[in-house]
Symmetry: C2
Subunit: 451 residues, 2 copies
């Protein structure tokens, strides 16, 4: 709980204890809805209901959209049916649909029962879209205008219906078949004359839109590229069916980043926050890749066993095994991380493969060379064994070059095979590079030290 | 180049070749500015100038803000002084300041020379703020209103000055000392009566703002939490000095994520895209941590050397070393990644340390147990050696428990020491866990196998 929230909670509980409902109403009406959700979290159930009933209904609904599923469930159980109906109808449809998707069936039944027919059918429509599609993150509450309206008529229309729309700042122009034919911002409306026709001031060429089935990641990329605050979603016949707003795109971006972090650390994507995810669920998401990698690592085991005679003849070789394996893994992870991230943010494409290869080769010559010299000198100073030091330096040099080129190439290979590049991160790269580094090491040792 | 851009480039080059300037003007005026930047990238210099001169100046300036530094430099060299002056004055000040920060000194001098006095002083003011501060990403072009204005007067004001403001949808109410006293959205303005006073309809309590010196990461977090489209920036005396818009917050978010990915793969943050970063620069950013980790890994080498007698007595133990080290590293990375990410998105706090410890312990019992049983069975079927299989299973079990609790605790420890938790990722965790897994392994082997 931040200090800001703590102060608000104190003031509010004081009002509630003193039964100063009028003061509570005035005070709470000015609190941001996201903060209200944080405050609710800190109150007991009785206090929650008092605060909730003190809120203007639009603010109450807005706060609802920020609740955790647990808090929503709790509060739904405390509210009367009519109260619940008002909240659900006030919620933006996409938030209502998200809420319904996260709650237990009996709670959902109660919510839908108390919603108006329009809200219920709106929620059901949104729930039909595939998870992770543009349809699943859009809202159907937007402002539509027709081309023959004047600016004055448009403002009148916005005043009439605007209160319930998630954004009013970008308006969409449709014909009588709901086909999207233009976009006009409130900024343009404000800077135009009252008598101007929408058809004359709207942008109609090159309208950027997405289709309901497009991946939500694609939607987030469009927001990043074009700096929009809303984006129209159309069906296969270019009929406008909804809009995505920038706050939802930002959330998608953050979730996709989290998913990449998890995949790159050899986990299956975990949807819920860490503390709300069960132990068994967490274990399941982690054990699969660990098992695959554990079995793959036996290859490096075979290589060690194969060269047993080499380090039996020269036991001093053993000490460097962890250093070689770790450095190879780390060096390879650096390259794969840079390339995976570069592809995720759209800076790198499959066709850049040769540029990446050439760059990683040169970088690895520098990095590998530096590490090799430092390590060989260090070993020579400590042991005075020239051949051992040369063996170490050469092995490290070869390992880093191998690791960084493999690390740079694997994500691009994955992408060209239509796999997720994020899978080719540290864990897999390390497993592959381990086998390489051990082979180089004992091969070089045999040659240099004549074993 | 996407298909969309490819088509646009074809049409535009056709217009240019056919010298159809009127058609080019009409066509290009409807293209999105971010797309225009992509198109420019594909044209030769002569074509660039023709297209650029065909654009309305506000669109031309807008496209400029999406150029790469290389393209900006190229185009600046092609434009006349008066043309350049117009563009710089049309640019939003924060984009102009970003541009200036990225260009060589001689180009900057030419740009500033041709800017108006207002623009020049605005740019210089923005350049004073520390890198990565809220001040460095804000713009000073916002709409300010006073509390005694009516809604009608506010609309008149917006109409007069709105064209040059980065967003008009959130207006800021200041007193005669420029102190921020309220916020009012255009939505509220549109839904109010013309005669209403701003002072009566604005939100004035609990205004959420940031200070110029706040970290830009904090700014991005506020946008994520509150779903704003703009956020006011104030100085130490609560005077309004600028605003940050959501598109810039989204960019910060993406850059901060990239930085985390890089840190977590043992690299120093790399500011530029991969392909624009030089080989030496890339090598420098990578070699430091590799060197530190390489030297740290010698600890595991000492442990191996220390237990030499154990695996000399039982050479079959050697084969499992890579598997144990890799599994320990991977298991620890999973935990550290989950915790680092959880803290980065604000789901986990330092005070959750015991919850994390308890959860990681239970998860690791499950994960470690599963892997241990699978591995011991696998080894027993392959080798028929019961004691060796038990040794392996127990070592793996201990390693995973150690790895996941260490991996979960280190990022929290770092945060409580005011260090960046992202440093406690896979590479460091692996190095520490390696030493642990080898110690467990040989310790258990000595006991179980009586060596």
């Amino acid at each position: 709980m931040t200090e800001h929230i703590e102060t608000l909670v104190e003031i509010i509980t004081d009002f509630i204890r003193g039964k100063k409902i009028k003061e509570l109403q005035d005070f709470a009406a000015d609190i941001n809805s996201a903060d209200l959700a944080d405050i609710m979290q800190e109150l007991d159930n009785e206090q929650r209901v008092v605060l909730f009933r003190a809120l203007p209904k639009d603010l109450a609904a807005d706060a609802f959209s920020y609740f955790t599923p647990e808090l929503t469930e709790e509060l739904v159980s405390l509210l009367s049916d009519p109260e619940l109906g008002v909240i659900v109808d006030e919620l933006f449809l996409d938030d209502a649909a998200d809420m319904v998707a996260e709650l237990p069936a009996d709670v959902v039944r109660r919510i839908l029962k108390n919603a108006s027919d329009d809200t219920r059918s709106g929620i059901n429509q949104l729930l039909q879209y595939q998870e992770d599609s543009a349809g699943s993150i859009m809202t159907t509450e937007y402002i539509d205008l027709s081309a023959d309206m004047t600016v004055e008529e448009s403002f009148k229309h916005i005043r009439e219906v605007g209160m319930d729309k998630e954004t009013i700042y970008t308006c969409y122009v449709v014909d009588n078949k709901e086909t999207l034919i233009g976009v006009v911002t409130v900024k343009t409306l404000l800077l135009s004359k009252y008598a101007d026709k929408i058809g004359d001031i709207m942008s109609s060429a090159n309208i950027i839109s997405v289709s309901t089935n497009d991946d939500r990641e694609h939607v987030a990329e469009i927001f990043q590229k074009y700096d929009f605050i809303a984006l129209p979603v159309v069906d296969s016949e270019n009929h406008l069916v909804g809009i995505v707003t920038v706050d939802d795109a930002m959330e998608v971006l953050e979730e996709e980043n989290t998913e990449d972090f998890q995949k790159m650390a050899a986990m299956l994507p975990i949807d819920e926050p860490y503390l709300s995810t069960g132990v068994i669920e967490l274990a399941k998401k982690r054990v699969l890749w660990l098992m695959v990698l554990m079995i793959s690592a036996t290859l490096s085991g075979y290589i060690l066993t194969h060269y047993q005679s080499v380090f039996a003849a020269m036991p001093a070789l053993i000490a460097a095994i962890p250093m070689l394996m770790d450095t190879g893994g780390n060096a390879g992870s650096q390259s794969s991380t840079l390339i995976i991230r570069g592809m995720a943010v759209g800076e790198l494409k499959i066709t850049d493969v040769l540029k990446v290869l050439f760059k990683e080769l040169r970088v690895s010559l520098l990095v590998g060379g530096t590490l090799a010299v430092v390590n060989a000198l260090y070993k020579y100073i400590l042991s005075g064994d020239l051949l051992l030091s040369i063996t170490l330096g050469l092995s490290l040099f070869a390992t880093v070059i191998f690791a960084q080129t493999i690390g740079g190439m694997l994500p691009i290979l994955a992408k060209s095979l239509k796999l997720d590049p994020a899978l080719m991160a540290s864990p897999i790269v390390t497993t592959i590079v381990d086998a390489g580094s051990l082979t180089f090491y004992f091969g070089i040792a045999k040659t240099v030290m004549n074993l």
